[in-house]
């Protein structure tokens, strides 16, 4: 029993649903002829921003007690629509109804009062506060002049239990995992008696296990009578958890359909506007000489312990070596040591035949090392710079961008226009757009554009498609394969197993700072990799019994 609420029977509509790819229900109400209670109705919403119509006559109707997915590419208008619902923007046209009543959501407080809660993609938590302190922030229960933390804790615990969240109300935010922090955000909404929960890309920051648990939580919430609006561009998740799906593309409503009736391929096509290949077609690689060689590398992590232990690996020209592993097993330290952001404790890193382990970042870059960083907002971009400034962040002192130390604005602008066009980076004001105002997906696209455009000989790529939609993922994967085919050596680090399996030629599994497995990509499966990722299995070529990680290259 998945849902406690009265869900429409998947077989009740569209007799041909099984044969046709899906029943698109652009005509509203889509549930014609049946009694359905819509808890949220956004009717004919239009919103203009300077230079762009973010929402164009969009109608969204959400049934009470359902999980309703809102699907669209980066910049399709999902966030704008939700911001309107949450009272952050006012629509230029259209109206909002909650439980059949017209409402004016003029600010988020109104939304909260109406029972709408939002779990943001980037959590809004005070790190050195406890879970309970964060939850009651702004509406602290009092006992005389003092905050009544005891009763609040009890209430938080009760809610947590009811929905199976398993959150410790006394834990400090900085001590709990990202997945738990997200649950605190959810609790915050539930504590405020939210009936309608908006999840904004909730899985972008989670590990596969945490995603699985989140899905269960969402089902539990719906079972208890809540309604969920899920903003995402991950089709798998929609397929797994959502009942109804509304698809937006470039600000327009494309359709609303029952998830059960739609295939992933069909949804992807509607979202992107063309057919999408989930799997990048690639020829067999033709690996050449070793371009990147890591020898017995030891790197300390932030806690001062060894995050990478005596690690060795090789990447050849014309191949993609994928590094997979559960988050926090040394991937970040490995990437940062290779690219120079962190100093290695010991060990050597060779680019071709040159030991680069003691060189500066600039020297490594000019020797032909490229890097798409894991954290786009921390390392990848200067958010307060414009897009065109971000494009030249490595090469700003070189011709044509500068002459005698003076910037050449014309050349910088041209470069931006070229990259925006070539890589389809969407931004309101072209090169002059502040990076901060761009959507996360387009920020990532901008970084990928900049780095691929430099065409480095050895390319270290970390999490290149985190938070991106299928269309963009397909594009970036194609570009990575194209770099490989040009004879570049690519080291790909990703938490997405699909991504690793799709584009790697060889896969190395990292566990606890060591490479515990090295396999050919076409000779393994999710199961085997999963076992290695959890440390239950070791598999390296020429490995001696009970071997160390040496000699795996």
């Amino acid at each position: 029993m998945r849902f406690a609420s009265a869900l429409p029977d998947p077989n009740a509509i569209g007799t041909g649903a099984k044969t046709s790819r899906c029943a698109i229900l652009t005509q509203l109400p889509y549930s014609r002829g049946r009694e359905v209670a819509f808890i949220i109705e956004m009717l004919n919403i239009t919103k203009d921003f300077p230079g762009i119509r973010a929402n164009d006559d969009i109608t969204l109707q959400v049934e009470e007690g359902s999980i309703h997915a809102l699907l669209g590419e980066n910049g399709a208008g999902k966030s704008t629509l939700m911001s309107i619902l949450f009272g952050l923007y006012r629509p230029d046209h259209g109206k909002i109804r909650i439980r059949g009543k017209d409402v004016q959501v003029s600010d988020p407080n109104v939304a909260t009062r109406l029972g709408i809660g939002m779990v943001h993609q980037h959590f809004k938590l005070v790190h050195n506060f406890t879970v309970t302190e964060n939850i009651i922030l702004g509406m602290e229960p009092r006992k005389g002049p003092l905050i009544d933390i005891r009763s609040a804790e009890a209430k938080v615990e009760a809610i947590s239990k009811l929905y199976g969240l398993a959150v410790d109300p006394r834990a400090k935010i900085e001590d709990i995992s990202v997945g738990m922090q997200q649950r605190v955000e959810i609790l915050k909404m539930l504590y405020r008696d939210a009936e309608m929960l908006i999840f904004d890309e909730p899985t972008a920051v989670l590990t596969p296990q945490e995603i699985h648990e989140l899905m269960q939580i969402m089902r539990r919430l719906v079972a208890e009578g809540k309604t969920i609006l899920l903003i995402t561009h991950k089709l798998k998740e929609i397929k797994e958890v959502a009942d109804i799906c509304t698809i937006l593309r470039r600000g327009k409503l494309i359709g609303t359909m029952k998830v059960a009736d739609a295939s992933e391929e069909r949804m992807a096509e509607m979202m992107v506007g063309r057919e999408v290949n989930f799997h990048v077609s690639k020829k067999r690689g033709a690996p050449g000489d070793v371009r990147l060689k890591v020898e017995n590398l030891n790197v300390k992590n932030q806690k001062g312990l060894l995050g990478v232990k005596n690690l060795s690996l090789e990447v050849r020209a014309g191949e993609v070596l994928g590094i997979c592993g559960i988050d926090g097993n040394g991937q970040t330290e490995l990437v940062q040591a290779i690219t120079g952001l962190t100093k290695a404790e010991s060990g050597k890193i060779f680019l071709r035949d040159k030991d680069i382990s003691r060189l500066s970042i600039k020297e490594r870059t000019s020797l032909g090392l490229g890097h798409i960083p894991e954290d786009r907002q921390k390392h990848g971009l200067v958010l307060d710079f414009t897009l065109s400034e971000n494009f030249i962040i490595h090469d700003y002192y070189e011709k044509p961008y500068a002459h005698w130390g003076v910037l050449n604005k014309g050349a910088i602008r041209q470069n931006a226009q070229r990259l925006i066009g070539e890589f389809d980076v969407r931004s309101g004001q072209g090169g002059e757009t502040p990076a901060r105002s761009m959507s996360g997906g387009n920020q990532q696209k901008a970084i990928v554009a900049r780095e691929i455009d430099r065409s480095p000989e050895v390319f270290v790529i970390a999490q290149p498609t985190r938070g991106l939609d299928v269309g963009a993922i397909e594009y970036i994967h194609t570009r990575i394969i194209a770099e490989r085919d040009k004879g570049k050596a690519v080291l790909l680090v990703s938490l997405e197993l699909d991504e690793i399996m799709d584009i790697s030629d060889r896969i190395a599994v990292i566990f606890n700072g060591e490479i515990v497995g090295l396999v050919e990509a076409n000779a393994t499966d999710e199961n085997e990799l999963g076992l290695m990722m959890s440390g239950a299995l070791r598999k390296t070529p020429n490995a001696r019994p009970d071997s160390s990680t040496r000699g795996i290259a």
Binding site: R90, K362, H371, H379, G380, V382, F385, I393, V406
Partner: protein, 364 residues
């Protein structure tokens, strides 16, 4: 609202609100705010509405010399600020700049074409060294620049007084011997055409400093990397920029601006080195000027002139019976309102929303 207009409009609103608040305080003291505005008019033009005294360039001269040093210390604060540093050291950098100018003025004998540039260069260099110390400590040992710059302000004060009193010597325990003519920005021609004000050639280095600031920050690759470090150190590091070198250089250049202010005061406004009982507050005025001027050369010029005008108007107001603290209140509240600009922005947005709603209502 457009970003550009906002950038100009918000500080103007802050200034307006500052004066509004000042006026209210004056009303509370039982005086007319108009007296204050009359004093301000007199401070910039010499025109006195109550006595009918007409235009007098002497007042312009005095108003400009009040503005010059705080524009320079404003540039000093802003330059460090652009690299993400919060330097409170302009005061001390100014003092060592002044001391260096004094030393060169008294110890070197050369024709003006050599002597005066030497004096200015010495003040720039001394300020740069004084600014470079906290920069170096920050870059090397991650010592917070606020702490070091505050401490160095005191060191500078006592170094200045010790040197003036014990090395250059003075009859009255306050000032050194007069500088030779060849070391001075002070000029009888400028004094003559401004009816005997203390106006001097200092405005030329000030204008140059404004241009240099704007050029470095906005046009050069160096400024590009400084801004990158200021906005996001990690991203600058990732891009291969030398973050630590930029921090040191930025602090040195900021110090040079403040050091120059020392020379402008010592060889322009005065013609002798001075022992100081306490800091004169140019450094802190500079912080206010930079904040109001949004760390941009144009804004700093505007804010420097505004605060210079207030400084010049202060004694005039006092002679009209308005407490001299009023000027302090106005200055402080302008800075406060600038700091509150997000709030002001929100209010503006609310107003424009209301307007849009009213329009909608009419249409329906």
């Amino acid at each position: 609202m457009k970003k550009r207009t906002e950038k100009v409009l918000l500080p103007l609103i802050a200034v307006f609100l500052g004066f509004l608040l000042g006026s209210i305080v004056i009303l509370l003291t039982g005086r007319s705010p108009l007296t204050m505005f009359a004093a301000m008019l007199k401070a910039v033009s010499g025109i006195d509405l109550s006595t009918g005294q007409s235009f007098n360039p002497r007042y312009i001269g005095e108003f400009v010399i009040q503005s010059m040093p705080i524009i320079l210390t404003g540039l000093a604060f802003a330059f460090a600020s652009r690299t993400g540093l919060f330097s409170i050291g302009a005061e001390g950098q100014l003092m060592v700049g002044s001391l260096a100018a004094t030393a060169i003025a008294l110890m070197v004998h050369a024709p003006k074409a050599i002597h005066l540039p030497l004096v200015l260069l010495a003040s720039l260099a001394a300020g740069a060294i004084w600014g470079g110390i906290p920069g170096l400590l920050k870059a090397r040992f991650n010592v917070h620049e606020v702490v070091v710059t505050i401490m160095l302000n005191y060191v500078a004060l006592h170094l200045n007084n010790f040197t003036i009193l014990n090395i250059f010597g003075s009859q009255d325990r306050v000032k050194t011997a007069f500088f030779p003519e060849s070391a001075l920005l002070k000029d009888s021609f400028l004094e003559g055409i401004t009816n005997g004000s203390r106006l001097n050639w200092g405005f030329i280095p000030v204008i140059l400093a404004l241009l240099v600031f704007s050029f470095i920050i906005n046009k050069t690759t160096f400024g590009f990397s400084l801004r990158a470090v200021g906005y996001n150190k990690e991203a600058a590091k990732y891009a291969g920029m030398k973050v630590n070198r930029n921090i040191v250089l930025s602090m040195m250049i900021a110090g040079a601006f403040a050091g120059l202010a020392g020379a402008v005061i010592t060889t322009g406004t005065f013609n002798f080195g001075r022992a100081l009982p306490a800091a004169e507050g140019y450094g802190f005025d500079g912080i206010a000027v930079a904040l109001v001027g949004a760390n941009e050369a144009g804004g700093i010029l505007f804010a420097g002139l505004l605060f210079g005008m207030l400084k010049a108007a202060q004694p005039l107001m006092q002679s009209q019976g308005i407490p001299k603290e009023i000027v302090g209140i106005i200055q402080a509240s302008i800075v406060l309102f600038v700091a509150m600009q997000y709030g002001i922005q929100l209010i503006l947005e609310k107003i424009s929303k209301k307007k849009a709603e009213a329009l909608e209502g009419e249409q329906q």
